[in-house]
Symmetry: D2
Subunit: 423 residues, 4 copies
Amino acid sequence: MSQNMDIFNNMESEVRSYVRSFPTIFTKAKGYKMWDESGKEYIDFFAGAGALNYGHNDSVMQKKLVEYITSDGITHSLDMASTAKAEFLNRFNEVILKPRDLNYKVMFPGPTGTNTVESALKLARKVTGRTDIISFTNGFHGMTIGSLSVTGNSMKRKGAGIPLQNVVTMPYDNYVDDQDSLDYLERFLEDSGSGVAIPAAMILETVQGEGGINAASFEWLKKLEGICKRWGILLIVDDVQAGVGRTGTFFSFEPAGIKPDIVCLSKSLSGYGLPFAVTLVRPEIDKFQPGEHNGTFRGNNHAFVTATSALSYWENDDFEKDVKVKSEKIYTFLEKMVKKYPELKGEVRGRGFMVGIASEVEGLSNKIAANAFELGLIMETSGPKDEVFKLFPPLTIDEEGLNKGFAIIEESIKAQVKEPVTN
Amino acid sequence: MSQNMDIFNNMESEVRSYVRSFPTIFTKAKGYKMWDESGKEYIDFFAGAGALNYGHNDSVMQKKLVEYITSDGITHSLDMASTAKAEFLNRFNEVILKPRDLNYKVMFPGPTGTNTVESALKLARKVTGRTDIISFTNGFHGMTIGSLSVTGNSMKRKGAGIPLQNVVTMPYDNYVDDQDSLDYLERFLEDSGSGVAIPAAMILETVQGEGGINAASFEWLKKLEGICKRWGILLIVDDVQAGVGRTGTFFSFEPAGIKPDIVCLSKSLSGYGLPFAVTLVRPEIDKFQPGEHNGTFRGNNHAFVTATSALSYWENDDFEKDVKVKSEKIYTFLEKMVKKYPELKGEVRGRGFMVGIASEVEGLSNKIAANAFELGLIMETSGPKDEVFKLFPPLTIDEEGLNKGFAIIEESIKAQVKEPVTN
Amino acid sequence: MSQNMDIFNNMESEVRSYVRSFPTIFTKAKGYKMWDESGKEYIDFFAGAGALNYGHNDSVMQKKLVEYITSDGITHSLDMASTAKAEFLNRFNEVILKPRDLNYKVMFPGPTGTNTVESALKLARKVTGRTDIISFTNGFHGMTIGSLSVTGNSMKRKGAGIPLQNVVTMPYDNYVDDQDSLDYLERFLEDSGSGVAIPAAMILETVQGEGGINAASFEWLKKLEGICKRWGILLIVDDVQAGVGRTGTFFSFEPAGIKPDIVCLSKSLSGYGLPFAVTLVRPEIDKFQPGEHNGTFRGNNHAFVTATSALSYWENDDFEKDVKVKSEKIYTFLEKMVKKYPELKGEVRGRGFMVGIASEVEGLSNKIAANAFELGLIMETSGPKDEVFKLFPPLTIDEEGLNKGFAIIEESIKAQVKEPVTN
Amino acid sequence: MSQNMDIFNNMESEVRSYVRSFPTIFTKAKGYKMWDESGKEYIDFFAGAGALNYGHNDSVMQKKLVEYITSDGITHSLDMASTAKAEFLNRFNEVILKPRDLNYKVMFPGPTGTNTVESALKLARKVTGRTDIISFTNGFHGMTIGSLSVTGNSMKRKGAGIPLQNVVTMPYDNYVDDQDSLDYLERFLEDSGSGVAIPAAMILETVQGEGGINAASFEWLKKLEGICKRWGILLIVDDVQAGVGRTGTFFSFEPAGIKPDIVCLSKSLSGYGLPFAVTLVRPEIDKFQPGEHNGTFRGNNHAFVTATSALSYWENDDFEKDVKVKSEKIYTFLEKMVKKYPELKGEVRGRGFMVGIASEVEGLSNKIAANAFELGLIMETSGPKDEVFKLFPPLTIDEEGLNKGFAIIEESIKAQVKEPVTN
């Protein structure tokens, strides 16, 4: 470990985490590559946990951002109007909303994922007059009390120091073998003796990132939307991690053919890794009073600038198609690994660029990720027992980058399972 | 109103607020000045509600930031180590903590004020094993459920849609005439039949920004610290708005001679208006598990770069002295206004660059602020009934800027009170 | 309706309920019979909702009670020691606990069902240091906030006027067709990402009275006990309605072969319909401080006297055997009704003297019960939609009484289904 | 201690309390006297903590009760109509409500104090749609979660095992020296930034029994009623301990000239020490659905019979006058004790037959009460530190009984303060 890491060990709180898994000081990054202080190069299959879908320091956005800064463009504007904000709104409407026949109002709830989730939960409760939210097993929605209440992870929940309330957790798709989780859910709703009240909203990720790369089937999502409509329950899709192209389409829910009442976006929305979030809201439920939810950094103009630029990727379907081709390549690779290394006791999970292998062997995924880091690949694990190693490369990665990454992963698997089967 | 405002009216959520008070599109800013699309110049006595203490687009920070961006420095790093983060930590320790004999651990809780408050409340509950927090009347701490629970404003509390719990509100300094609020508070603590349990922590602002520019006396703060020590209660100072020089010293609590257990900083911490926050924690209570509180944007490297640069203002006491001189000038001006315009039924409140006039005449402060905006001055109101107009210029403003601002304010007062006394 | 009912209509709160179903003024009762002011006789298949398992005004208890009263025996003693209380404790130990190899401590929590449930929940939370309780769909445990939180009925829950917290509802036995509810439950416990924390306790009725006469299988109960042991969760059996012989054994859980950590008893415990309740607690968890739970009427000595006398029924197994014979007769009758009247779309539910028919025809069970009342039989409905008519005769009823009751029920069914099948 | 106490030590839960202060087995009682198994006679200045205002086993009620029982009168009737209930309602209306110009509806919420309090809180929240209740320091309202939430005692609150919510505690009359507690309260209500929402109701005792015999002044009560009216807040008087004559009038609030929206009665309501409670409700807010609050023992007919009989005491004002004369005698005695024994550092508290001496000497009141028990007087202590010894004789006590009691108390004081001043 670098001598220079001392400053982190001495000064930074014990709560620090990724710096423990990736113990080096990064200094530069471009596209899918990062470099540390010693000059060592890393392939980034982590992408800021989904915040860097376009890779590091995209040159087009970089140029726009520098121009904006040097021209003394507004940096901070709370929720006052600025040129950069107007351009973002116009462009987001033209490139994203209109073509998808979505007429959401855009709320700027503060620049992080948990801000958008909190604003969504508050709004849902306010407009329905109900207090409960249905969340799902292994959902992850953020660390502030409202978002943490709908987050499944028990270690993180305990961090609250108070009982987390006004939430009912229901089983996600495929939670209990051979049991249809939505049958359970609807049984609770229709039975007036179930102890479960009709909630204000349901909140879910279509693919659970932190919860273990569980991808809900499109049928399940469609059925869930039907239940929400039948019972007058708002449907909130938390697309913070799965959105902005990570699963292959701009919104993760597009292929399921559903239209949520509220959508939470953040992470890759700025395109450049800058803090930014929006809450998209059906006009009929856009019922907050002026200022009823606010925050200092809901007008991060640097992010408006790069986000506007990033929307160019979505002007036609070239990018989407390219992502599709590469994601199939990734999936094929993972399936090959599972087959070739039965010691993994592995299962491929996820869709698009949001995939990984869940290994039943305790601790193995962590060892593989640690091994990969040694070999120059940055890769995270997730799931309640860190049982999944996640492949989250930038969507803009090229074939060469993918292949390099694959090679390191296979080498790491091989090293950790010790005796790979021959074939 | 500009034609171009249509995009905001059509696309942005009803929750938007400042854009209603300042209905124009800003396009450029430097120091204490802003310009809108029509080229009109504004003097900024708002300063991003305290997020722009060094003014807009400070040239030194601007240069550093552009250099960093163009050199492909790490932009987003979650909580991995980066060169920019190491430099910030080193410099913050050297320039701020050490000279003040503070040995806090630094937690990066996510880049906004509400993130740092939530992390502080969670930590206090976790380490004490208690659930209640004592907050104070007219405190403002943020909009996510944990922070909102300790915020006094009833309109904002209703936005939660659920009862806000685990909080006891106590009277701030001077809340009821001729009654000592801390006698009252301690009576509740010492009486085992009071219904108020010993709390995990007390959280307060030394000067309440949103709550009406109420400044606690140093005696009151000192006495409060004593109560906390006596009962084993953690003291959290939310210095999000009052900190980073706003009241004249880096931390607002310095002149009171107290040392909080936890300090929340954000707003002007980046120096440049970029989203950034830290939670400072006494090492003895730095007890989160790794990752027990996390967040995507807790490693905003652009903010590390500008924040590091901004610390230069604090290397010696020149800046502090200069701020002191100017703040006295502001205070003198406000006292003159109150005296000269008795129709204001005004009271000067606050300290440092965090001051304003509370008018007993309903609606008058809002009218004065609106009038000032017409005349080219941006100024906010605060307090439960918006009864205070706030003077929040950048600390870096020059004499000319102050005088221009004063002139507009007086003109606005005069216009609104109609018949100023002659003198 | 009797003129004299006016006093109830004029003076009593709208919340009154049974007086609406049985609109007459009762004046006298003995065994399984009641008489109203007009002298009309009724057969009582309601038995105070399980509070009169030995029938009305049992002559032996009546004599003991009158002797006690006329001798100026202590009536009210809070929780001071009294002769009557000592005798109850001795006798309860000898006749009930010892022969069943149970060494519970006896807590007097106040004289009603909801008092014993509240004391059980508080104790479970206190000794485990956990806050959540797992309750089950269609459970009914009382109307005070603690008990109401673990009660399923949505109408009653809304009566709280506040969100009910610290509770997770799980599916009772057979809740969803073809899905094992305990597989589901244990999945939530074992998954650290489920959002469901290990609870302090689970609380359940072995047969749900108000919830629709749902009887859990002995296998299910046994498996549930195993889960509780495996996870260190306390098992609370609320035997308020199903206990004291209602299902055929003193405790309803005896035939399942389980030993709960806490047992709640009330209703028929006094034997005479007097307010009385006890909470039975494993000695290892008997951890309340003196007076930490208290109440004015936890020493109802009249109830001690009759309860002690009532225990004579349990000195040998004659009573239990007799109840068994009669309960089979009841069950056979109900099965015959279901078969003979397919228009009922009926299902026989329950066990022992805690049985009924659930009819899928909306409103039919209520009509049958109303019809029966006209014909001189008192019978209640239960279930989330009042879909079950319940047969709750006193356990002491004789053959003649049962047959009379059966005849009225069949006549009522016939009248309501209009065209009975011939056979 | 009697050998026979073993059964309590072995079988009864650790939570037992009064049996520890009064360690003997009582066997008989009449009027103001009790006898234990050894035949020792005690004077009862405890009166079931206010549940035996008419003394033990009043001969008139006793006769009526025995007649009722031997005639097979209905014992248990849930909330069906019975002759005994009709008579109670009629008589309560004629003797109590009408003459006081009160037109309350009568709710039977279950037979204990905590049942009536829970029903009152639920109703207040339901009809106002608000969730918070304002309670007062050192209030005592019961041990079930709803009632416990509004109870001040910290030891009892901890027994809940969960944070108690939806409550704000305000200072009772004279809580902080030289500070007007209602100025505080109203300041919180009128300030929209106070963090305290307009509550559904305020609940209070006019004299706090368990909290230390604190008597609110009539002016304070009147002012409080005015605040409630001004803000549309329901006023609940918990008259469980102070009602039914204990302070000299049937309702404790009569002399203050206020009319609460809801009144909670229990303890002495049955007149005979039997479990019984009613909730009195202004007709305009009698809004529960049928059965929305229920309970097995809300129809305790034995209590109806004795309660009806007990109302004879209130047919004219003879009883009230007699109580007044005796209560002055008690008060004079207590003032004499305080003066004569300055070592007591005593203060006389309370009014009517609800009085005591608060001693500043830690532990002294308990010692005096223990000493008195040895000498044959039963007397309780109360207050957060048990600093008050309470004189709660039956209202029906005669001069001889009072004098005997006074003599024992003085002897106990003398013995405990060691060196009484001569005078």
